[in-house]
Amino acid sequence: MDNFEGSDFYILDDLLTEEQRLIRDTVRDFVDDQIMPVIEDSFMNDRFPDQVVPTLGELGLLGANLEGYDCAGLDSTAYGLIMQELERGDSGLRSFVSVQGGLVMYPIHRYGSEEQKKKYLPELAAGRSIGCFGLTEPDHGSNPEGMITSAVDDGDSYILNGNKMWITNGCVADVALVWAKLDGRIRGFLVDKGTSGYSTTKQGKKFSLRASTTSELHFQDCRIPKDNILSGADGLGGPLSCLTQARFGIAWGAIGSAMACFETARKYATSRIQFDKPIGSFQLVQKKLADMLTEITKGQLLNLRLSQLKDSGKMSAQHVSLAKRNNVYWALEIARSARDLLGANGITHEYPVGRHMLNLESVITYEGTHDIHTLILGHEITGIPAYK
């Protein structure tokens, strides 16, 4: 397997600092050395490659943009580059890191008490502990506001009841951040693995994100200490602020997938001979490649600017929606087009393209479907919400 070179048509490397490039290259090497050799089997066997978690922690990839509590404290571009490189390996791997950092560590860091931060963050940063984020329910996906999971105040504890579905890392998590309604308001609760009344079921039969664990969470009179509420988060804004973090990482990550597909297609087009010529010499194939590179370059520029906005405190959730929507859409289009360009080889796991294509079907759905982001932008543009 050749080492990955990346795609950088507009020489954006020049806009990165030495540290950002080093971080990118380190993660790229890690993915080449430790992910590429195992990812195909992981995907085929429907198994998250959990053996790499300690290394993810040791390198500092978990919650890498958070300050303190043993986190690396990176800027947003460096963080984005990490996501890009991880997803170049596999969306499941990036999902693991997104959930751990953006959806579990971030809310504890932002909304948690000092005790919660000290207890959870260093363990999660080191990869000694795994987290999951339970928002979606069987009957409430795009509309989490309608959730029915509930928390009831009972003396010195809360009692949780309800079910969550499609939860990344669910079965393997040591701590679940669960969103439930307390007196009609959405609040976040930390539920440790092994708490009585809390159980999980692995969701199978997936054709997408197979190298990532997806689970149902069940709460049946699950009693947790009062201290386990995230006191700083009150209302839907809590989980949504986490999603903004994770979606930012997805916008970067999707371009990583797209780069993997494009580079595979580019090589294939110059070596595969049909009608006595490399297929890359046909105009239709060239158009496909030209479109891919154009969209990747545009996505990279969006990501870089989005990171600048984030670091300067000007980034809005709508800015993130535009990038998530655009970049995932094009990554999926590029994956499909690359799949097509590879002919029959494109449907095998000899090449990473089919795996990326299947994975991206999840990525375009989770963290706000493509159309939900369309509505968020529509709302932003017109001032008129069209969700219901």
Binding site: E5, I23, D25, T26
Partner: protein, 249 residues
Amino acid sequence: MKIAVCMKRVPDTATRLTFAADGKSVDTSEVQWVISPYDEYAIEEGLRIRERAGEGTVTAITVGPEGASKELRQALGMGVDDGILAVCDEPLDPIQTARSLVAILADRADDIVLFGKQAVDSQGAQVGALVARLLGRPFVNDIAAIEVSEQQVRIERDIEGGRETIEGPLPIIVGAEKSLNEPRYPKLKDIMQAKKKPIEKVTPQTGEPSFETVAVTTPAPRPEGRIVGEGPEAVDELIRLLREEAKVI
């Protein structure tokens, strides 16, 4: 324990290289640079020697353009204490590189100086030996293991069909082979902290070159392959051709 590691940045092995218009050099405008892989083993071993000794410093030294500070930062991110960059934009021949390094190393009194056994771009395997000669210190290349105790070193080398163990006094200069160790990844936090570690910039004392590169050319294209047949039936014909035409068996 005072340790120096001499390292070179080279084009990433994944980069497709093209020759520059002058016909004498490689076009580096789109090259991605990395630490020459054998030098990474040297860095890792320097760090391990320091860690085993429980004290000491490791300094990474390179001769190259300003941009080579990125590779020095990587070494700092891996745990090296400080860096020295002899800033030079011109390509140097091995004796010039060696002289530049000697000017830096001469007064440092390192117990051990580590090199990679060779750089993977020029493949010359000269600089370590030249530096040792100019400094009048012993040199062992291709080392597969090294143990340092007090003022003694014990070194193992892979030799044809076996392993050689040698012992001798410090100071010493060695060249790292890939069986030496598995280099660590720099931790992201350490990459950020490497910003605060010092890189000293010096003017290299290269002296005059001995040789000049007058041309670089691509190898002649390989003749096209031929498919003799398929499956076991093709074996006889293949053997015949290998014997009679290619004359290799």
